[in-house]
Amino acid sequence: MENMNQQIVEDLQKHFGEHSIYGIGESHGILQVTVGVDTIVPLMHYLYQHASFKFQFLTDLAGIHFPEAKGQELGVVYHLHSLENNVRLWIKAYAPIENPVFPTITGLYATANWMEREAFDFYGIIFDGHPNLTRILNVDEMDYHPLRKEYPLEDATRHDKIDELFGR
């Protein structure tokens, strides 16, 4: 698998340029690349239609929040899988928290519909062009994005389980 990863990196850097594909790494055998927000959709299309790589399965789409990385707080990690070559790939992209806009990939993968809604619900990441970007798991009236690091796990309005009793 290592030479396949190397092959993928070389091919992508040749096609998109070295400045667009950075942050190359390998984590327990899975290749990861970091790209800018604008490169996501062309990269996905390229990998989908590639003659030999054939990354045509989107396994997962995870949002992530790094409050310390100024200008790049909210990120999305796309997990791609090529079923024919049995190779996985992680594509990471980051955006600032003031304007967390990513392009949607629902045009290419129908499965990204709910995955992107979940990332929006949990982190407030806006997917440009999504057909129905509303909350999916939390109540519709919720006004904050709970999985961001600044919010607590417990319900802010509870009055019986106070922190003093629980040693916090």
Partner: protein, 182 residues
């Protein structure tokens, strides 16, 4: 008659004679109600699977009179809430409870329905007794079918010993008013 090992249930207190048995209406109605409770299985998560095990032939809840699971709230006697109730689901539980006709009982099965369980989070209702009045709580995560049956038997005790006027008493109305239910 002589050495039969069948245990006969005790009759309620009353006056017996040739061809008649006189008892109070409360006892008669209580006996009838407690042995024919139709539950509404409001199964949301893992406790629902233990309820399926209780319904299956090994633990068989229909021995206790609940042969027919009523999914229509209007025809149900016991609301068995089994599983985690999230805040999104709380209005639904309340609406189902409001649709039930008196007399109605509520059995809260599992730690999540009783008190929020292991999920002390922003999205889980910390116990259904925040929205509806509960009669019996069955703890466990999930409770074994024997525990669910014990909870059900306690509801049967409540049904058997309840006065037929209970639902019209001011205390009961006050209880419902505290939940915002008319």
């Amino acid at each position: 008659m002589s050495n039969s090992s069948v245990q006969v249930v005790e009759a309620p207190p009353g006056i017996e004679g040739q061809g008649f048995f006189a008892t109070s209406l409360d006892h008669l109605v209580g006996m009838a109600r407690s042995n024919s409770l139709w539950p509404l299985p409001f199964a949301t998560s893992c406790c629902g699977i233990e309820f399926m095990a209780t319904m299956a032939s090994h633990y068989d809840i229909s021995r206790f009179g609940s042969e027919r699971m009523s999914f229509s709230a209007r025809q149900a006697d016991v609301l068995m809430v089994m599983g985690t109730i999230a805040k999104k689901m709380a209005p639904v539980v309340k609406q189902v409870y409001l649709q039930m006709a008196e007399p109605r009982w509520v059995l809260s099965v599992g730690a999540c329905a009783s008190s929020g369980g292991i999920f002390d989070t922003y999205s889980v209702l910390q116990g259904i007794d925040r929205v509806i009045p509960v009669d019996v709580y069955v703890p466990g995560c999930p409770p074994r079918p024997e525990q669910i049956l014990e909870g059900f038997m306690q509801i049967q005790e409540l049904a058997k010993n309840e006065s037929t006027r209970r639902r019209h008493t001011p205390e009961y109305k006050e209880l419902l008013a505290s939940y915002g239910i008319e």
